[in-house]
């Protein structure tokens, strides 16, 4: 039984608490913390668990075997490093840090500790559709991958005021991770294109945006991020190889013939779209932690790469040019 402490009881944190309570017999949440004590107390009360006022006390608590960090992006580094220093496993939501330097600090801490303790919450790697795609690519069913076309569309931004940078750092970061995972290659350059914006976007927001990436082996990747597509939450991905292509399927929804058309629903939000992937992800984390083997999980290096890409995208946007993605040498530790 894995005893878990959760720092951050916003929407995603609460969803993890609920998921562990209802789907994962091998784990239980024993303590929660949030910068809003009210929020933490509410969750603690609902699930009959302890509320820790101090996040570091939670991390250090004897009955906490592992930590989940779902706080604001800029605080991830602090809590993750703290957990690593305590020698505790830690699951951190993406993005791992709001800066690539933050990710490097985390890697430094983890390497210093000498043991893999961190998993980053790139849950799409646990989605059945993406896994089928990766399996096909690895089985060489398409020959070498040459191109990736992907679209990431949200009906509309939620929460705090959405900025042009957040589209890339907060949303497209999923594509940065899943794409390199699918084609098993590293990025080399980034370009960001700002087309005409939709009238449905807030005044300062550039929306949609297109990011063009190139990998070291020469694979071309084009990624659409569109936060105000209005019609639903729609994630598309096609990998084009030497012998054929593979595409992410739409979720299976009931098919109507009605009102002059054949229609199925597109989900309105990410929570429902990736519900199963989130559950699989958390199960896998618990399983890997209990086995003390995180070799198959998304690492700090993965978090670092996506942070560097996001920074390159911002630079590419401001300079309107193609920007090199300068990664440090990959530490042996993460191979």
């Amino acid at each position: 039984m894995l005893r878990v402490g959760v720092i951050g009881t916003g929407g995603i944190g609460r969803a993890h608490v609920e998921r562990i309570a209802t789907c994962i017999p091998d784990a239980k949440v024993v303590a929660v913390n949030d910068i809003s004590e009210e929020s933490a107390l509410a969750v603690a009360g609902q699930y009959g668990i302890r509320c820790e006022k101090d996040p570091h006390a939670l991390i250090g608590a004897e009955d906490v075997d592992a930590v989940i960090v779902t706080t604001w992006d800029r605080t991830h580094e602090e809590f993750v490093v703290s957990a690593i220093r305590e020698g505790k496993h830690v699951f951190c939501e993406k993005p791992l840090s709001n800066t690539s330097q933050g990710c490097r600090n985390i890697m430094d801490a983890e390497i210093a500790g000498g043991k893999r303790l961190l998993m980053v919450g790139f849950m799409r790697r646990y989605d059945k559709g993406y896994r089928q795609m990766k399996a096909a690519i690895e089985a060489q069913k398409l020959g070498e991958p040459l191109l990736v076309h992907a679209q990431h569309r949200n009906a509309a931004p939620t929460g705090e005021k959405h900025t042009t940078e957040m589209s890339v750092n907060g949303a497209l970061v999923h594509e940065f991770d899943i794409t390199r995972w699918l084609v098993n290659d590293e990025y080399e350059t980034a370009q960001l294109i700002c087309p005409k914006s939709t009238k449905n976007a807030d005044e300062d927001l550039i929306d949609p945006q297109m990011v063009i990436l190139r990998t070291k082996s020469g694979i071309h990747i084009d990624l659409e991020i569109y936060m105000n597509c209005r019609y639903g939450y729609d994630i598309q991905c096609e990998v084009v190889g030497e012998e054929g292509t593979v595409r992410l399927p739409d979720p299976a929804n009931a098919i109507f013939r009605k009102d002059g058309g054949r229609t199925y629903e597109i989900y309105s939000g990410w929570a429902k779209r990736f519900e199963e992937a989130y559950e699989t992800e958390m199960k896998e984390w618990v399983k890997c932690v209990l086995k003390d083997d995180l070799s198959e999980c998304p690492t700090a290096w993965d978090g670092y790469v996506t942070a560097v890409v996001a920074e390159a995208c911002t630079k590419a946007r401001l300079t309107e040019g193609t920007v090199r993605i300068d990664l440090i040498e990959k530490p042996e530790f993460y191979n």
Copy 2:
């Protein structure tokens, strides 16, 4: 150049005239006739062709090489037999006759003349989707066919008051023909099931209806006819074989992602749904007539079989039982 006379200038007749004028260089309509002289004159005027007051004069006219009959069902026999006796090729819309006896009379006339002169307008045999299905079956891609499931749905009946019998005799007759053509077998029994009717049907109309057929080799066929499905004109067909199934595709229409769904249009009427099939059919007829070889065209025998099935369905409906489909022995002439 095939010179054609058209008897019947209602919607379908006019469509044939237009089709020949715009798509078939090897034929031209030289004369038209209709019980409504006004209608015939209008068409004649529009296309600059002759209006013949008397249908038999049209059939006998020297400059008429071949005749198209698109009049009321009950008059088909008269005009078709007349054309055959004149030794002229004749294309007759389905159903060939409103009675199986009428079809027999036509067969007798044709056999007496000693030459295939008639093609019945089962235009679905010229639809690309059905042809692909037949090609797959004949190539033994599915092994032996065992089952057929088909649906024939109209948004709503048009024209004169629609009766329960017309659903079968006028609409489902297409399935009677296309199904036996697909599986290359003859019918043995028929059953007709009257489910609960839709509130959208006229008071006396049983709608939908289900017809269950069995072929001599034991293939099971279930056919839905639904005249008031409301959502469009929708034709579905699946043949189930020993090694797999093949299904008629929906027409290719643009795919929208919009308003929370992924949608494509279903056509509202048969004219658009089978536009290409009608054109191919007429081209094939002209080609076959000019080659004087109708061996590949739907015959009087095909028209006869569907008439017998329709009569069996009526009997089955009235007796609520399974009815034998008693066909005369197939004349050598039609092999």
Copy 3:
């Protein structure tokens, strides 16, 4: 925490044990039994739980709160009744009994006890696709349902020698349940049609078969059962209503463009096809038992109805006629 005893450690029993162990924090299996002590011991060993030699001892054990019965069909009645008499909740795999009389005995026992204790394992009611269909029907999106067309195809039978009766009793029973649940109506008549059999079937097996059902309100239902379709495990269902239709979607699998075609995989077996539904089912059972409220679960009445339909199908097959489905009056207890 619900403490569960499992009688029957064949494939399905083991799958339930595994599911509870890995997906359901609120339950744990504490004891297992099987007619093959070797099988029970193996499972007990693997999961570190107790093996009970006597099924009735398992049912009566103090630390067993609820029982799962996954033994041979003919033994269901004995164990279910025993559990009910002990006042314990019991989950029984479909079919509830191999005879309708067995189901009646179970109902009698449950009614005598005065409390709903039984859930029958009609797991399709927990499948997302069927739930979307039911939700649409209940929301009157299609108007009244008039027709149901469904296909149940297996690649090939597994296990013991498959008989014509087993296709109906063991496999099509799923359709008997899900269809009446979808349209919320009761059956009135059954007919069974034996088409030409596939060459891939064992000599004595009639395969495929068609079952035609009619509900009290006049809904027509046609069900295909095909145990040797070869190409995969394929479950299709379309409900046709007054204003449109709704169809079960295929599972979402990655889409390939390759070798001249666009293709996605069809699963080869039921375990993968309904994996999610099985998990949801078991979760719902545990939740309902812990709440002591089975009002939303499939009941002994549901099991009884499907048993009567199965018996009517056998009779219909032997008599080649339409057979009335004679249900006893529905006990108030099950409303």
Copy 4:
């Protein structure tokens, strides 16, 4: 009746001759010419028409009302200008010229003549799917278009040795035309990206390539050209607007469930894929010429724009940068 002369009796020329002979009653081919007299004689013999040794004699012949030019790209200008100077309507296959200057010369000739006489063979504008897309966009069903993603894939190049430039000039030119037609905007910049090439390409060929275009209003367009995709001839296009997206459908082909998958065929070549569009195109040309009104047809300006884009793509490839698409001011004549 339009009397047509055809210059160029290669595959496409012959297809036009056949099409006119079999589908277009209002036109007939009266003379053919080819640089290979043998080829021209063969076609002339097959269709019983005249072979003209000199292309200019054909253009000037009294019985030739209009000319079709399907020769090598570099000779288009000569024959088109010649036809225009004779005051004859001329249909020219795409690309209109192998240089933008050639297109300008054609425009100059046409403007000097004072009358629209040229239609360029951008046949995709006559494809049903694209027309549905354009209709939806023009009806403002998607709001303003913001992005276009398109893929142009060939199984393998045919004919003469295929070069990197030919992928763009010969094949992608279709996308250059159809995209601006769909979104009704003009191009501003072009970028060409050379990803890793497929092992299936000839040594010198860069394949696939990606072209990124931007329109004056800021619409982003990314076009994939892939000449060796192996699996078939596959044309995809999605327009993303403010309120939704619309996508070109796959052709409707029969759907198989077989061998563990659900599959439909992708055509292997362009001739079958766009068969209907080619026929519609030729019919429209004949109709417009007979009405002496080419206002709805693709113009020399359209041919010029695509030539400029193609040249910009070559420059972009060689400079690895973003290149302005410098168009001359659009002559009033073409508005």
